[in-house]
């Protein structure tokens, strides 16, 4: 692709000389990444100068970085010059005209998950007016939020309407040079969500990207920033159980959470991107950086994730416990089937005094799936009375899958108490036989066993999410036994 990248460079630098925006009509930037592409993204989004500089700074760092190779995953190297880094939000007109045009396999899955017809249309990107009914629903939600003083909008809107808030917090938890993918995201992020909960406000509803009007097509480099001011509370839901239609293979999102004094953020994710086919062809690479900082005293951040999709998942939602008495939690279910690979876990960085963290990780491997838990519990010198409890369990289904555990524990304070436990087990023939003898079908039996295994995590999910997640595991495990 070197030639085309060079051509593009030539083209763009030429355009720049002439006043740059010669290519306004084009909705998509040609493949390749250089400073001019970043200038293009920034100018298309009408961003202030400081944000452009911030992006460029990230890009210059990225050029010096190497993709991480330590994860327990295998894939062909990615050609970053072959990706197009800007495409204008597509209009719904481009989507299928009706559900009849949608891939029947996808529809079958929706059916199994029991997704209402309207939602199926949204998810499949169907361009029918009916879809826009949901817009009015979303508008009602917006009014309610505005009443409470909560800002919840797309990242681009936030840059235009609340630049001071964005500038204050952007990159304060995940610095631009944090890691290869975070740097890439910082340079080229397309859009995402911004959420600000003012002091003392308990957000009146669970926030979900699903209800944000322009949630669709935020692109592959999503950026989320949530700031919870003193004494506030918010529960945020990301993703949904239904498989999303998406053409981009590489996803490198960044999520930053900031919890001030006495604030509490609960962040729940259900990730079900396309995992590729049975032979491992295609599928999304999900390389995500998620980190929250408990900046104030007594603050709390809780991550709950159900990861069933993507060909490769590389994701470590973390908590930096800076404030005294702050708490970090991580509850995770990660499932790999067929040829899926997951290297996921968390980091708990104890800095403040009396900080506590809990990690519950459940990994399920089936087919030829490879599932790794990788976690870090770090207790800094000044973190008196820090407390961590970690439990990570793996369930193996089938003889060709793999389950791996790489927990790092670093303790520099003698008053810390850190415990780590891990177990590995399989779904045994005896368990299945017992259920079968009670008249339960093979598949239902497996579902029951797997859901029992994940119960501790599911109970952390908002109720309706939990119900969906249970169904989702069942669908994702189809064909794993017998």
């Amino acid at each position: 692709m070197a030639t085309s990248a060079n051509d593009v460079e030539a083209l763009i630098s030429k355009g720049y000389e002439a006043g740059f925006i010669t290519d306004v009509e084009s909705d998509t930037a040609p493949p390749g990444l250089n400073e001019d592409v970043i200038r293009l993204i920034s100018s298309k989004k009408n961003e202030p100068e400081w944000l452009l500089e911030w992006r460029l700074g990230a890009f210059r760092h990225w050029l010096k970085m190497e993709p991480p190779r330590w994860a327990h995953v295998r894939y062909e190297p990615i050609d970053y010059q072959a990706i197009s880094y800007y495409s204008a939000p597509k209009s719904r007109k481009d989507g299928p005209k009706s559900l009849d045009e949608v891939d029947p396999k996808l529809l079958e899955t929706y059916e199994k998950l029991g997704i209402p017809l309207r939602e199926r249309e949204i998810l499949a990107g169907v361009a029918v007016d009916a879809v826009f009914d949901s817009v009015s629903v979303a508008t009602t939600f917006r009014e309610k939020l505005a009443e409470a003083g909560v800002i919840f909008c797309s990242f681009s809107e936030a840059v235009q309407n609340h630049p001071e808030l964005v500038r204050q917090h952007l990159g304060s938890v995940v610095p631009t040079a944090d890691n290869f993918y975070a740097a890439l995201n910082s340079a080229v992020f397309s859009d995402g969500s911004f959420c600000h909960i003012p002091k003392g406000v308990r957000c009146p509803m669970e926030l979900s990207t699903y209800f944000r009007i322009n949630a669709a097509k935020t692109g592959q480099f999503e950026r989320t920033l949530i700031v919870a001011e003193e004494g506030s509370y918010v529960s945020y839901l990301e993703g949904c159980t239904a498989p999303m239609r998406d053409e981009n293979q590489l996803h490198a999102a960044v999520v930053e959470l900031v919890a001030m004094k006495d604030a509490r953020i609960k962040y729940s994710t259900v990730q079900n991107w396309y995992p590729g086919d049975e032979e491992g062809r295609g599928g999304i690479y999900n390389f995500v950086t998620k980190r929250g900082e408990c900046r104030g005293e007594n603050s709390q951040i809780s991550w709950t994730q159900v990861e069933t999709g993507s060909a490769i998942t590389w994701k470590y939602p973390s908590c930096v416990l800076t404030g005294d008495n702050s708490t970090g939690e991580f509850y995770s279910v990660a499932l790999t089937n067929n040829c899926q690979q997951a290297d996921t876990g968390t980091k708990m960085i104890h800095i403040g005094k009396n900080t506590r963290s809990t990690i519950i990780s459940k990994g399920i491997s089936a087919g030829r799936g490879q599932n790794a838990y990788r976690g870090l519990v770090k207790v800094a010198k000044g973190a008196d009375n820090a407390r961590n409890y970690t439990q990570c369990d793996s369930l193996l289904i089938g003889a060709k899958c793999g389950a791996h555990t790489f927990p790092y524990i670093e303790v520099k304070n003698p008053t810390a108490r850190v415990e780590h436990e891990a177990t590995t087990s399989k779904v045994s023939e005896d368990q299945l036989f017992y259920c079968r003898s009670r008249g339960i079908s093979q598949e239902d039996a497996l579902n029951m066993i797997v859901n029992g295994f994940c119960r501790e995590v599911f109970k952390e999910l908002p109720m309706e999410f939990a119900v969906e997640a249970q169904k989702l595991l069942g669908v994702s495990l189809e064909g794993a036994v017998g």
């Binding site: 330590w70 327990h72 207790v379 010198k381 793996s394 193996l396 289904i397 089938g398 003889a399 060709k400 899958c401 793999g402 389950a403 791996h404 555990t405 790489f406 927990p407 790092y408 524990i409 670093e410 303790v411 520099k412 304070n413 003698p414 008053t415 810390a416 108490r417 850190v418 415990e419 780590h420 436990e421 891990a422 177990t423 590995t424 087990s425 399989k426």
Partner: protein, 441 residues
């Protein structure tokens, strides 16, 4: 790219090559191992396996490779006495070189013990058993040992020969030369249905600041039973890097005890390969660090075959500015079903400047297995301390007693009573206030 850090080992090799045992073919193998070391140099902290342990101190210094051991008999005897009396068979090495005059004869049916230098001279193929380990994919430290191994011991046990009398290998580091570097190699082959109990002990004169880089390789034949003790108690200025590589056949049982008290920087790698079905291994360990000591244990157990079993039990006590590192990896390969692997690592932090970095890892590629690991970091129980104080024990004595008790269950696993007593006294000696309660018990 700067060149890999190799200290002065490349010129050192030219200086000593002619004095190292073996013919031209062996020298070629040594050169190949040295080339391997030269490519990578001392591992850096960018290497995952050396993430928490710096080799900068080793890479900086001028080393002087030992090729002979000139030390008066009186001094040698004093060093021996300090290592603890031993009535059984033993081989003594001074600066890595075998000393027949200190060792005494070892004779038993089916047991053959030869100093490495002699074995290489008389058996043209013996080098394949030691240089072979340094030429292929191996750590730079093992390659360095393969290049410089000047002496050591080769132990062969015939099929069906059981030896219940523990054999001690005692390595003494002298303070004669600054930056002494010694590279012992121990090669043990235990035949089908045979048994061996061996103790590897490393001590040093109090001013010795040398670098010991040792490799022990044990092959346990079908149904063989091997118990290996490793006591590292070098001088507080010394650098110690040890490798233990164990390969096990069907039904064999190996027990390893690794106790680490000495050296400024100590690193122990234990790699067990369960190559035969139904083979089992137990790894016990205790490490203590105080002052500026750094002690690192890396263990790896590969379960290659069905029905294999491993149990690992390591404890650490870190005080002063001491730093402990533990990395325990268990790999269950495809087809190694019915594997049972248990691992536990517990650490006690006694001071505000102590540090522990622990990483218990599992890599599992088979489904019908039972694997579990646990790791804890904590301090002495305040309630227990209070109880002991209320019984009239001084604060320091109460702390010492509880710390001693923490180490106690690892000691309880040692099968040689004499050794257990010596080590109990050694541990108590490091705990301020221990004298008081030891008098009481």
């Amino acid at each position: 790219m700067s060149t890999a850090p190799t200290a002065n080992f490349l010129p050192e090799f030219e200086r000593v090559a002619a004095h190292l045992p073996g013919d031209a073919r062996v020298t070629e193998r040594r050169r190949a191992a040295l080339a391997r070391f030269a490519t990578s140099g001392f591992p850096s902290q960018r290497d995952e396996a050396w993430r928490y342990t710096s080799t900068a101190g080793l890479a900086r210094r001028q080393h002087s490779v030992a090729i002979d051991a000139q030390i008066s008999l009186e001094r040698a005897r004093a060093a021996l006495a300090a290592a603890g009396a031993w009535n059984g068979p033993q081989c003594v090495f001074v600066d890595g070189i075998h000393r027949a005059d200190l060792s005494g004869a070892v004779a038993a049916a089916g047991l053959r013990i030869r100093p490495l230098a002699a074995a290489v001279a008389e058996d043209g193929r013996i080098d394949e058993r030691f240089a072979g380990w340094g030429a292929g994919e191996c750590s730079p430290m093992i390659a360095l040992n393969a290049a410089f191994a000047a002496d050591g011991v080769v132990i062969d046990i015939a099929d069906g020969a059981k030896h219940t009398d523990p054999l001690r290998l005692l390595f003494v580091m002298t303070a004669d030369v600054r930056g002494r570097a010694v590279f012992p190699r121990v090669i043990v082959s235990v035949g089908q249905g045979s048994g061996l109990i061996m103790v590897e002990q490393y001590v040093g004169e109090s001013a010795a600041d040398g670098f010991t880089n040792t490799v022990t390789q044990i092959h346990a034949g079908e149904g063989a039973q091997v118990t290996h003790y490793r006591l590292q108690d070098e001088s507080p200025k010394a650098y110690h890097v040890g490798n233990l590589i164990v390969s096990q056949e069907r039904g064999s049982e190996v027990v390893s005890h690794s106790l680490s008290f000495g050296a400024l920087m100590a690193r122990q790698d234990i790699h067990v390969m369960l190559r035969g079905p139904e083979s089992s291994v137990t790894l016990n360990g205790l490490y203590m660090a105080e002052g500026r000591q750094h002690v690192d244990h890396h263990t790896r157990i590969d379960h290659f075959e069905p029905g294999t079993r491993s149990e690992e039990y390591y404890k650490g006590i870190l005080g002063g500015h001491g730093r402990g590192v533990f990395n325990g990896k268990v790999v269950v390969h495809p087809h190694a079903i019915k594997t049972d692997a248990q691992q536990s690592n517990r650490n006690l932090l006694l001071s505000k400047d102590a540090e522990i970095d622990t990483k218990p890892e599992l890599e599992i590629y088979a489904d019908d297995v039972k694997c579990a690991h646990g790791a804890t970091v904590g301090q002495l129980d305040e309630d227990a301390l209070f109880y002991l104080r209320s019984r009239g024990l001084e604060e320091s004595a109460a702390r010492a007693l509880l710390t001693y008790a923490f180490a106690g269950d690892v000691l309880g696993r040692l099968g040689i009573p004499r050794l257990r007593e010596d080590l109990a006294a050694r541990i108590a000696g490091r705990l301020p206030g221990a004298a008081e309660f030891l008098e009481a018990v």
